[in-house]
């Protein structure tokens, strides 16, 4: 069975131009969320 390429399908995403950029946005948002929650934990506890 062939596996698809990591970049994925043929169609571009409706924003940011490439799927790689969108994936980076989601992971980046997770990192920012983690940092904010760490700050919240540290600042209020």
């Amino acid at each position: 069975m062939n596996t698809p390429s990591a970049g994925g399908g043929d169609e571009p995403p409706p924003l940011l131009g490439s799927w790689t950029m969108l994936y980076a946005l989601v992971i980046g948002a997770l990192v920012v969320t983690l940092v904010l929650l760490l700050w919240l934990t540290w600042a209020f506890t």
Partner: protein
């Protein structure tokens, strides 16, 4: 409940059912019934995906978890965004390219019929039971808080989603979920604003957070690695990643949603939307519970939130002990509020000495309050040794009924019923499509025509709905409701994910190798659960790694168990 609340709740629910029935029209073929004709735009799919995961338990028990345990539960979702990205890069394009209807079809193409059947059976077992819990869990809480009959509440909740799910299948489910989830989110936002508004005069959001932080409720991230700990950063990132990867990539109730999208790109957009907004959504629902905690530092909370247990204790053989605990709790709460107000005033005035003195008084009063509650809980247990002493799931509704205005209460209750409809309808549609596509169609002599299969699909949906309602009627004593659902999933998800990842990543492994590996791994996971040595989030990792490792080992040891197509 007031007349306005009843009116708002019943009108909203009737509107949801009517919308679902209206959306059922035009479902005349199997593709429409199973995957909405693969015609849904990504924003609808995204809402449908989020609605499927967010059951009524999410909106009942999660604020309660925030009240009792603070924000730590948010860590459970940390692996989700990473899982969404991995799925977008791997299984989503594969599923869309193969034009499959259920996830388990892929396994027959890659391995053999028995591996497809085993995985479909694991799914039907796990999801069939989970559908019962999805109905039972909120029905239990609602029946206790509202004084309704539990059995009738289960039936009522089941009936709400049965009509349009049986008639319209995936298309009706997807459209109704998108509408319901938007309204649920709006309602939770209103509830959030109202919690802040109900804080006493002179106490702002910053003060409420400071109060919660002092009580250790803003503990969103725990960096310590402890395999027995349920919620920490590492369990969330690793265990949570495998759980979410399995849930969204191999559980038909989610795969069925993802496959309704028009294309690979639209499926991806739906998952990435979920990856972006799921963690913040859970954070705000938990924060709602944390703010209810802060509210009850100024406005006395009941000593125990489950009114049925309270009524038993008040009228039982240990009523005197209960009343003493209740009175002591009220007195300690008043002392605590007085000390807290003094502490806040000193803090605002910059008077460190006065703040320190007030903090000491507050600490004493908090300890007295905890002791009084413990005394009351002892009275509960003495009255009825089988009494459920965990009242976490009753915290939020208790607050809603006592602190929110008429109309909003009805809306919140409608939102909770709608959340139950959301997850139940997806589950029923997935159970029916798997039953027909992966079981019935494979039986020699089974019906093959489109009309007959559509008829059988509707019958299967009805069967699973009745199964869920009957299971809900007989369920009981499941402890924390959120955990019951997730532990049940974690017992199976790791193994199922291991089968899929083996198919995707280990090209040399054949059907018999992965079949045997999956059985051994599942037994090992059940043994881990029984021995209670590791937190349940780790079951997902253990099941997945064992399945993949053993499948690779078996294929290496037995040449005829290797994939001959490679």
């Amino acid at each position: 409940m007031r007349v306005l609340d009843w009116t708002v709740m019943l009108a909203t629910l009737a509107g949801f059912v009517a919308y679902g029935v209206w959306r059922s029209r035009g479902t005349h073929d199997l593709a429409g019934y199973w995957v909405a004709g693969r015609q849904m735009p990504w924003p609808m799919v995204a809402l449908s995906v989020m609605a499927t995961q967010a059951s009524a338990v999410t909106f009942l028990a999660t604020p309660g978890q925030g009240y009792v345990g603070g924000l730590s539960f948010v860590q459970f979702y940390f692996g989700l965004p990473i899982a969404m990205v991995v799925l977008c890069m791997t299984l989503v394009p594969l599923y869309q390219r193969l034009r499959i209807t259920t996830a388990y079809e892929f396994l027959e193409k890659r391995f053999d019929g028995k591996t497809r059947s085993l995985t479909a059976a694991l799914f039907l077992l796990q999801r069939g039971l989970a559908a019962g819990i999805t109905l039972y869990a909120p029905a239990l809480v609602l029946s206790v808080i509202l004084g309704w009959d539990l059995r009738l509440t289960c039936v009522f909740m089941g009936l709400l989603s049965i009509v349009y799910t049986v008639m319209g299948g995936s298309r009706a489910v997807g459209h109704t979920q998108a509408l319901q989830f938007s309204i649920i989110m709006g309602t939770m936002a209103v509830a959030f604003v109202w919690v802040v508004r109900t804080l006493p005069t002179g106490v702002g959001l910053g003060d409420a957070l400071w109060v919660a932080g002092n009580a250790g409720k803003l503990n969103a991230v725990d960096l310590h690695f402890d395999p027995k700990s349920r919620f920490n950063l590492w369990a969330g990132l690793l265990g949570g990643f495998f759980l979410q990867l399995s849930y969204f990539g191999t559980d038909q109730s989610q795969v069925g949603r993802i496959l309704t999208a028009r294309s690979t790109g639209e499926s991806r957009m739906a998952l990435l939307f979920n990856g972006l907004f799921k963690v913040p959504m859970q954070f705000f629902i938990l924060l709602l519970g944390v703010l209810v905690f802060s509210y009850h530092q100024f406005v006395p909370a009941p000593v125990f939130f489950n009114p049925i247990e309270v009524a038993r204790a008040r009228n039982g053989a240990h009523a005197a002990q209960w009343r003493a605990g209740e009175a002591a709790h009220l007195a300690a709460a008043a002392a605590q509020t007085e000390a807290l107000r003094a502490r806040l005033a000193a803090r605002h005035a910059g008077d460190a000495a006065a703040e320190q003195a007030a903090a000491a008084r507050q600490s004493d009063a908090t300890a007295a309050r905890a002791a009084a509650r413990a005394q009351a809980v002892e009275a509960l247990k003495a009255t009825d040794p089988s009494a459920n002493t965990n009242d976490t799931n009753y915290v939020f509704l208790s607050f809603v009924l006592t602190a929110l205005p008429a109309g909003i209460v009805g809306l919140v209750l409608a939102a909770i019923f709608a959340a139950s409809m959301n997850s139940t309808s997806s589950e029923l549609n997935a159970l029916a499509s798997t039953t027909i596509n992966d079981v019935v169609r494979r039986i020699p002599g089974a019906p093959t025509g489109e009309a007959a299969l559509l008829h059988w699909s509707r019958a299967a949906t009805l069967f699973w709905a009745l199964f869920a309602v009957l299971f809900a009627e007989t369920a009981g004593g499941m402890g924390s409701l959120v955990e019951a659902v997730n532990i049940l999933g974690s017992l199976f998800y790791g193994t199922i994910l291991g089968i899929f990842l083996t198919g995707f990543m280990l090209a040399r492994v054949g059907g018999s190798a992965v079949f045997l590996a999956a059985i051994v791994a599942e037994v090992a996971v059940v043994v881990c659960w029984k021995q209670d040595r590791v937190g349940w989030l780790w079951f997902n990792l253990i099941g997945c790694v064992l399945t993949m490792g053993l499948a690779g080992l078996f294929a290496a040891m037995v040449p005829r168990w290797r994939n001959r197509a490679t």
